[in-house]
Symmetry: C2
Subunit: 203 residues, 2 copies
């Protein structure tokens, strides 16, 4: 009813798409359902987007941007351990805050895997990992680590975040998830402590 610009409408559709994907999966995310979720007639969707594919491209962008934002929003002058800790906590808090975002991320990576077309939507996952890698490198700038060591840390952070997400999505128990955030971060901390013992810093 209210007349708003096509640009704002597009944002509505992207948000609606995220919710529909979370609830019905990628294959269940039809143009009709997305339009309904956005409280807009179906035809409006095709007035704003030439095709469903165009809309989905915006969704990928949205998800990737959100990840980038969460990961890069920590203190750049902190120690390596602190940075790693903050990134993991930030991502988990983000999942906890928006189940739909977490679910949609999972659906997207799951869907990306099925299309063995390389260079496609797997970029969402890739950009997130790259952001973590960059943050860790700059945090350890004064006492540079082996690239392999950085990659190990990136992997552990990703693993703990993904594992947390899967559990939280499966059971949807918020208070349990909050305790699990504590556990996950403590796992990271204790591993980092023993792992970095073996790599003395250069003088």
């Amino acid at each position: 009813m209210p007349r708003i610009s096509a640009e704002e409408r597009r944002a509505d559709f992207v948000k609606a798409a995220v919710e529909v994907i979370a609830t019905h999966g990628i294959d269940g995310a039809t143009t009709r359902r997305i339009a309904e979720q956005a409280n807009a007639p179906l035809a409006t969707l095709h007035y704003c987007y030439n095709s469903k594919e165009d809309l989905f491209a915006d969704v990928y962008q949205f998800v990737a941007d959100k990840f980038r934002g969460v990961i890069t929003s920590n203190d750049p002058h902190a120690e390596l351990e602190t940075t790693a800790h903050q990134i993991l906590r930030g991502v988990m808090e983000c999942y906890l805050e928006s189940v739909n975002f977490a679910a949609t991320s999972l659906e997207l990576t799951s869907w990306a895997r099925r299309q063995h077309k390389e260079g496609g939507v797997i970029l969402v996952y890739d950009t997130a990992l790259d952001a973590v890698r960059t943050a860790l490198r700059s945090a350890s700038a004064e006492h540079p680590l082996e690239p392999e060591t950085v990659d190990e840390i990136v992997y552990v952070i990703a693993t703990l975040a993904d594992g947390f997400a899967l559990n939280w999505l499966t059971y949807g128990d918020r208070s349990a998830a909050e305790k699990q955030m504590q556990i996950s971060t403590s796992v990271l901390d204790s591993w980092l402590a023993t792992r970095l013992e073996a790599v003395p810093v250069a003088p």
Copy 2:
């Protein structure tokens, strides 16, 4: 062509269904595709199963049984740390051995989440966690731990296994995955060491 019992045929269809679900997702797992994967005419599928739903029930059973088998197939007389370590390694090896099994497990839990109908297919995940819990309890029988502590360990094992699976499924890089198995188990070990320090055994 060769005439085999309907029971054996059913096993073929279940195996085919696992592969199709892994490749096309739950929604893409149509009776046509499953029959084709099993090298059988579509009508044969409906001869063996009254409905698609019946076939899928067998698939859930198959997946749950495989998990149970992998988890409970370790030395029951080992220490707690060893048992935890073995379970994690066993599950990851199982994923590494069969990408399709790993992918199907993920698709199933992901699909189960969407049906917020309680008491349905989430049992696959539940039975697996229960099996881990039971194994840990019996491993720590001589020096019983608090139930909360056991649950923490179960969570960490699940998280590390799930995170490993997601990464392996996303990138499909076998040699990277083998290294990541090492890392994951070392994460578990170092966390368990510091975690159990705080809980001295009863005399």
